[in-house]
C-alpha cells in the first residue's frame, strides 16, 4: 500500500483485497472478550476534524484504540481550528507532537492531499472525507459489507456484482470513492440521480448512469442510498423534497422489486422519509447498522496496514491483557 490513503484510486486490487481480508480478521476480534491488539502500541494517531462528524471520528478513535495506539482528537468545534489557525499551522503542531498518522476530515476538497504533499508533516495521512471529493474508508467499509454479504454466493469476490448508488452524486464524496473502489474490485456500478445532481464528466468515470431508479434496482445486487440534503432544493437541484422522494427515494413499493438477495445500504446519517423510508431502513435487507460495525474493522485494517505491517492480519499478536484502557 502507499504511505497515505487519500483517494480510493490509491488502492490497487491487491491493496483493497488485503484491506478487506485484514478487516475480516479485525472483525473477528469484536467477538472476543478482549477487543484489543498491541499492534500499534506506542504509535500516535491524530484525528484532525475540521468538520463535525461524530460518527466518523468515533469510528476512527475506536479503531486506533483497539490497536493500542495513542489517540489525540483535534476537533474544530470550540478550538482554534474553526477560524483563523491554518491547516499548515495545525499540521506543524501535529508534526511537533510526533503523530504517526493523521486522520483528517476537512470541508475543502484536496485538504488531505495538501497535508500529505506539502512537506508540512511526515506522518501517514488518511482521508476521512474531504469536501465533495472522496471518503475512501467509507468506500472500503461499504465494499467490505458487500463482500461479506454478496461474496459467498459469488466465488468470494465482487466481480460482476451490480451496485446501484442513488442520490446526490454531485456533492457526494462517498459516491466518488465507491465508484472508484467498486470498479477496482470488479463490480459494475450504476449511478442513479436526477440530471442536476450528476457531476460534469461523469460519463468518463467508467460507470453506468441512469435517471430512472425503477429501471435500475430490479437488477441490482446492492442498492446504496446517498444522503440528500434538503438545502439542495434552494440551489434549484430539484423542486421539492416530495418530488425528490417520489422519483429517487427508496420506499416499500420499490423495495418489493429487488431480488431476494439484494441488500440496502446507506452511509448515514439518514434523512428518513427523504431518500429512504423508515420501513426500508429497518427492514431485513438493510445492512445499515452493520456498516457501522464494519467501519471500525476496516479502519483498524487501514491504520494497521499503513502504520504497522504489510503482513496479513493472521500473523497479528494475541490480544493484549490490559482491558479498559481509556486514554
Amino acid at each position: 500500500m502507499k504511505r497515505h490513503l487519500l483517494s480510493a484510486a490509491d488502492l490497487t486490487r491487491e491493496d483493497a483485497e488485503l484491506v478487506l481480508q485484514t478487516a475480516d480478521e479485525m472483525r473477528s476480534l469484536a467477538d472476543r472478550p478482549i477487543k484489543k491488539l498491541p499492534a500499534l502500541r506506542g504509535r500516535t494517531v491524530v484525528n484532525l476534524f475540521f468538520e463535525d462528524s461524530t460518527r466518523t471520528r468515533i469510528s476512527f478513535e475506536a479503531a486506533a484504540k483497539r490497536l493500542s495506539a495513542d489517540v489525540i482528537n483535534f476537533s474544530a468545534k470550540g478550538s482554534s481550528l474553526s477560524k483563523g489557525e491554518s491547516l499548515k499551522d495545525t499540521a506543524l503542531t501535529l508534526e511537533a507532537m510526533g503523530a504517526d498518522a493523521v486522520v483528517i476530515r476537512h470541508g475543502a476538497s484536496g485538504a488531505p492531499h495538501r497535508l500529505a504533499h506539502s512537506g508540512w508533516v511526515r506522518s501517514s495521512v488518511v482521508n476521512a472525507g474531504d469536501g465533495t471529493h472522496e471518503h475512501p474508508t467509507q468506500a472500503l467499509l461499504d465494499a467490505f459489507t458487500m463482500w461479506r454479504h454478496l461474496g459467498p454466493r459469488n466465488g468470494g469476490t465482487l466481480d460482476g456484482q451490480r451496485i446501484a448508488i442513488v442520490g446526490d452524486v454531485l456533492h457526494s464524496r462517498v459516491a466518488r470513492s465507491n465508484a472508484l473502489l467498486l470498479q477496482t474490485l470488479g463490480a459494475e456500478v450504476t449511478l442513479v440521480s436526477p440530471p442536476t445532481l450528476f457531476p460534469v464528466g461523469v460519463e468518463t468515470w467508467g460507470v453506468e448512469t441512469s435517471y430512472d431508479l425503477d429501471a435500475v434496482i430490479p437488477k441490482a445486487d446492492a442498492v446504496m442510498m446517498l444522503r440528500v440534503q434538503r438545502e439542495r432544493m434552494n440551489g434549484g437541484f430539484f423542486p421539492t423534497a416530495r418530488e425528490y422522494s417520489r422519483r429517487y427515494g427508496l420506499d416499500g413499493r420499490r423495495m418489493a422489486t429487488l431480488q431476494d438477495h439484494t441488500i440496502v445500504m446507506h452511509p448515514g446519517p439518514m434523512v428518513r422519509g427523504m431518500e429512504i423510508t423508515a420501513d426500508v431502513a429497518d427492514s431485513q435487507r438493510s445492512v445499515i447498522v452493520e456498516q457501522v460495525t464494519n467501519g471500525v474493522a476496516v479502519r483498524m485494517a487501514v491504520l494497521y496496514l499503513l502504520l504497522g505491517g504489510s503482513e496479513p492480519a493472521g500473523s497479528l499478536a494475541e490480544p493484549v491483557e490490559t482491558p479498559g484502557d481509556h486514554s
Binding site: 499548515k88 476538497s109 484536496g110 495538501r114 504533499h117 469536501g131 465533495t132 460534469v200
Partner: protein
C-alpha cells in the same frame, strides 16, 4: 543622460543594425562620441512592452506588492508601461486614487503606470463611478474595469459602454457570469468532477462576452475583453470582429501555456480566475492570438502573500505572477511554435495594448524620433524559474522549477536604462 549605442541589434528579429538612444529618443544612425556601447549581437529589440492588465496592489495590500516593486518586476520583464487594475483598497474609483497611483509610478521611475479606473463605485456593480473625473485627472484614465468582478448587470454595462464614448474610453470586462460561478474553484470539466472542486464553466465566460459584444455593437462603443480563456470565447470574439464591431481581447501568458490538469495537484499556486482550461482551449487561444482575433497578451499579474497560497485550494486566493515571465512564455508558446514572429509579438505586447489604452508615447515603432522605450531580449538562452528571485514582493509564480526560453537583457524607458545585464539598473 547616458547615450547608448546598441551595436548589431536585431530590431523585431530583422537584420542586425545599430540604434542610438539619445535624449530619450531613438535614432537609427550611428555615433561614436561619448556613448556607452552595448554589444547587442544576437539580441532582439522590441518596443517597450505594454501591459493592459496588472495588479499592483497599492494602495491597500502593500504586503503583496507596491507600485515600486511591481514596476521593478515590470521593467525586468521588458515592460515600459503597465495599467494598474482598480481593485485596490480603497478602490480606484475616484480621481484622487487614480492620481495617487499614477504619481507613485512616476516617482518609482521604472515603468510608466497608467491607472485603470473602476467602472462602478467600490466595484459593487451598482452605480457608475465618476469615470469622467478620472478621465480628466492627471492620470488621464482611458481604460475602465471592475476586474476581479464582472459588470454583470446588463443595463449598467450598457450605460458604462455608452458613457465612456465622451472621452474615448474603453470598458475592459472581466467576463464571469456570477450566478453560474458561485463558489467556483476551477475549470468545469471532467477533472473538476473527479476532484470535487466546484466548476467554473466556459459558458459563464462566453455568455457575458456574447452579451457585451452585442451591447457594444448596439451602442457603438469600444469593448475590451479581459483574459479570454476558452475556445468558445475566441469564436465569439472572432464573429464580433467579422461583423466589424469594435471589440478587442486579451489572453494571459498562463492561459497560453498551462492547463487545468495542474489542479490535480491541489496546489493553489495554479488557482487563478478565470481558471486554467483544457488543452483544447489552450490551442484555441494560441490560434486566436496568432490570427489576430485576440489582439494582445496581458499578464493579469496578481501578487498574493505566501499565506494566501500556502493552504488548501478552496481557502487560497486566485491569481499568479506574470510580469517577469510573460515574454518568455510568449516565446515558448507562440514564437518557438512558429505561430508568431517577433513583429507579431511587438504588435501584441506593445503596439496594440498601447492603442487600446490610448497611450501616445508607448507602443511606437523603433524609428527615428520615436520615444526610446524598448527591450533587448536574448531568445537563445533559457532559464529555470526560481520563485525566490522575483522582484515582486510576492512569490506566487506558477512557473517555479520550469525551464523557460529567453531572457530580458535590458529595458529602456525614454532612453534611460531601467534594466541592464538582466538586473535593475
Amino acid at each position: 543622460m547616458t547615450t547608448y549605442l546598441l551595436k548589431n541589434v536585431s530590431v523585431l528579429g530583422g537584420e542586425p543594425q545599430d540604434l542610438v538612444l539619445k535624449d530619450g529618443v531613438v535614432s537609427t544612425g550611428s555615433t561614436t562620441e561619448g556613448v556607452e556601447v552595448i554589444d547587442a549581437t544576437g539580441l532582439i529589440a522590441l518596443p517597450g512592452l505594454v501591459d493592459l492588465h496588472t495588479h499592483l496592489r497599492e494602495p491597500g495590500r502593500e504586503d503583496a506588492e507596491t507600485v515600486e516593486t511591481g514596476t521593478h518586476a515590470a521593467a525586468l520583464g521588458g515592460f515600459t508601461a503597465v495599467h494598474a487594475m482598480a481593485n485596490t483598497e480603497p478602490v480606484a474609483d475616484t480621481a484622487g486614487v487614480v492620481e495617487q497611483v499614477w504619481r507613485l509610478g512616476r516617482e518609482a521611475g521604472y515603468c510608466d503606470v497608467f491607472p485603470v479606473g473602476a467602472v462602478t463605485v467600490g466595484l459593487a456593480g451598482e452605480r457608475i463611478a465618476e469615470l469622467g473625473a478620472m478621465a480628466d485627472s492627471a492620470a488621464r484614465v482611458r481604460v475602465f474595469s471592475d476586474d476581479g468582478r464582472c459588470v454583470s448587470d446588463p443595463l449598467l454595462m450598457r450605460r458604462a459602454l455608452e458613457y465612456v464614448k465622451a472621452f474615448d474610453g474603453v470598458i475592459a470586462q472581466h467576463a464571469q457570469e456570477p450566478r453560474l460561478t458561485e463558489g467556483a474553484q476551477m475549470n468545469e470539466g471532467e477533472l473538476s468532477g473527479r476532484l470535487g472542486l466546484a466548476g467554473w464553466p466556459a459558458v459563464a465566460e462566453e455568455a457575458i462576452i456574447a452579451r457585451d459584444c452585442l451591447l457594444a455593437a448596439h451602442v457603438g462603443s469600444r469593448l475590451h475583453v479581459c483574459h479570454v480563456s476558452t475556445a468558445g470565447s475566441v469564436e465569439i470574439v472572432r464573429q464580433a470582429k467579422a461583423r466589424g464591431w469594435n471589440v478587442t481581447a486579451e489572453v494571459t501568458p498562463h492561459h497560453l501555456l498551462l492547463t487545468d490538469e495542474l489542479a490535480a495537484t491541489y496546489d493553489p499556486i495554479y488557482k487563478v480566475n478565470p481558471p486554467l482550461r483544457s488543452a483544447a482551449d489552450v490551442e484555441a487561444v494560441r490560434a486566436g492570438l496568432a490570427d489576430g482575433t485576440i489582439d494582445i497578451v496581458a499578464t493579469d499579474h496578481a501578487p498574493h502573500p505566501h499565506e494566501d497560497k500556502d493552504c488548501e485550494w478552496a481557502a487560497a486566493a486566485f491569481g499568479m505572477l506574470g510580469l517577469e515571465t510573460a515574454l518568455s512564455v510568449v516565446q515558448q508558446t507562440m514564437v518557438d511554435t512558429g505561430l508568431l514572429d517577433w513583429a507579431g509579438v511587438a504588435e501584441r505586447m506593445s503596439y496594440a495594448p498601447a492603442r487600446i489604452g490610448r497611450l501616445s508615447d508607448h507602443g511606437r515603432a523603433l524609428e527615428d524620433g520615436a520615444p526610446a522605450n524598448l527591450v533587448l531580449f536574448d531568445p537563445s538562452v533559457s532559464r529555470v524559474i526560481d520563485s525566490s528571485e522575483t522582484a515582486s514582493l510576492s512569490r506566487n509564480t506558477p512557473y517555479a522549477g520550469r525551464e523557460l526560453p529567453g531572457r530580458v537583457v535590458a529595458t529602456f524607458l525614454r532612453g534611460k536604462a531601467t534594466v541592464l545585464d538582466g538586473k535593475l539598473a
